[in-house]
């Protein structure tokens, strides 16, 4: 008799646990999470640009030339400055492409195009920066490029796509 009284309670407990399990697996506001990661991607690329600019100190009238005396000592020649910025142009273009795709993204859609290309560019920046002499500014560029790689992976994860 007692077990018959508690039967609905057991049923409710099992049902509630099942509901909680389903809820934990269910779609969360993925696009909103993706927005935060996308903002982090932008911050990482911007940070690479800022750190490189700080190290190079290009003049407004000659933006392809580094005026800093430290830059050549660390291996940041004008050619490398130009090379890094050409990669940054690609990175920003891809970021814009991803952002445009993200705006139209809906649950169930694949990951926005451009993420794998962005990873490639981030790795290229990392390679160029890693070849420079170890210095606080150089480490900042490297750390930002690494953070960029991490956030690109996080964007895909936040959307729940492979």
């Amino acid at each position: 008799m007692k077990s018959r009284i508690y039967y609905p309670l057991y049923l409710a407990l099992v049902g509630s646990l099942a509901l909680l399990f389903v809820a934990s697996c269910a779609s969360v506001p993925r696009k909103e999470k993706a927005l935060q990661v996308y903002q982090s991607i932008h911050a990482s690329i911007s940070s690479v640009q800022d750190a490189e600019r700080l190290l190079c100190l290009p003049d407004a009238t000659t933006p392809t030339h580094c005026t800093s005396t430290l830059a050549p000592k660390l291996g940041l020649t004008d050619a490398k400055h130009v090379d890094i910025n050409a990669k940054l142009v690609k990175a920003f273009a891809l970021e814009i492409q991803v952002g445009t795709a993200l705006k139209a993204w809906r649950a169930g859609d694949p990951a926005p195009h451009g993420l794998s290309e962005l990873s490639t560019v981030a790795n290229e920046v990392l390679t160029v920066a890693s070849a420079l002499t170890d210095d606080a500014d150089v480490r900042r560029i490297i750390a930002s490029a690494k953070a960029l790689l991490d956030t690109i992976a996080a964007l895909t994860a936040s959307l729940g796509v492979k």
Partner: protein, 64 residues
């Protein structure tokens, strides 16, 4: 404990358990309040800054 008291206790427990489950599920589905339009506007703001920075990078790369 008589039958009626046990049944009442079971009913109260049941209501509490279901209440907690429902609250948890609602919390899981709750967003910070951003609508799709607001999310897209935030993405647009990021894109606008990226365009400005890309123009700077183009100049530094001698591509402008």
């Amino acid at each position: 404990m008589d039958k009626a008291a046990a049944a009442a206790q079971a009913a109260v427990l049941l209501i509490n358990v279901v209440g907690v489950a429902v609250s948890t599920v609602r919390a899981m589905f709750k967003t910070s309040g951003l609508t799709d339009e607001q999310i897209n506007a935030a993405i647009d703001a990021v894109i606008a800054d990226a365009q400005t920075r890309m123009a700077d990078a183009k100049r530094a790369a001698g591509l402008d």
